[in-house]
């Protein structure tokens, strides 16, 4: 589902952070073009 797609990884400090999402998606064959970890207040 991610092969050939450009992926935006938008994580959150209290959930799954951006770098962890990015690592998972790249391992699944996606190309991460943007990753951030938001802080919901």
């Amino acid at each position: 589902m991610f092969k050939g797609k450009k992926v935006i990884a938008l994580g959150e400090r209290d959930g799954v952070p951006g770098p962890a999402i990015a690592e998972c998606i790249e391992a699944a064959g996606g190309e991460v073009v943007f990753q951030k970890t938001e802080c919901f207040v």
Binding site: V7, E38, F40
Partner: protein, 105 residues
């Protein structure tokens, strides 16, 4: 959703085309719905660059079954397994289903 991130994602959608992009979220609770709405129908708070902008990006959560099943087992165990136990998965899936239903009308 963070205003700087809204601006950056708007730029990426213009650069690559919304059809070529997929968004994967990692928020718990209420943040999932807000982010999904912002990236599909526009910023519901009307405060950021995506106010009134319907990007209609495909939005998923990293812990949804169809997403996590794509992640190799060892990386899943290291990065996601713990959060799967902590986050309210049924609520996340329900929130995303509602946002997707709203797009389809």
């Amino acid at each position: 959703m963070d205003l700087e991130n809204q601006a950056a994602i708007k730029e990426l959608a213009e650069k690559f085309g919304a059809k070529n992009l997929v968004v994967v979220l990692g928020m718990p609770g209420e943040g999932v719905r807000l982010a999904a709405e912002t990236l599909t129908t526009g910023d519901p708070s009307w405060a950021g660059p995506l106010a009134g902008v319907s990007l209609e990006l495909p939005v998923f959560h990293i812990l949804e079954e169809k997403v996590r099943s794509e992640v190799p087992r060892d990386i899943y165990a290291e990065k996601l397994e713990m959060m799967e136990m902590v986050l309210d998965l049924p609520r996340i899936e329900e929130d995303l289903a509602q946002v997707r239903g709203a797009i389809r009308g």
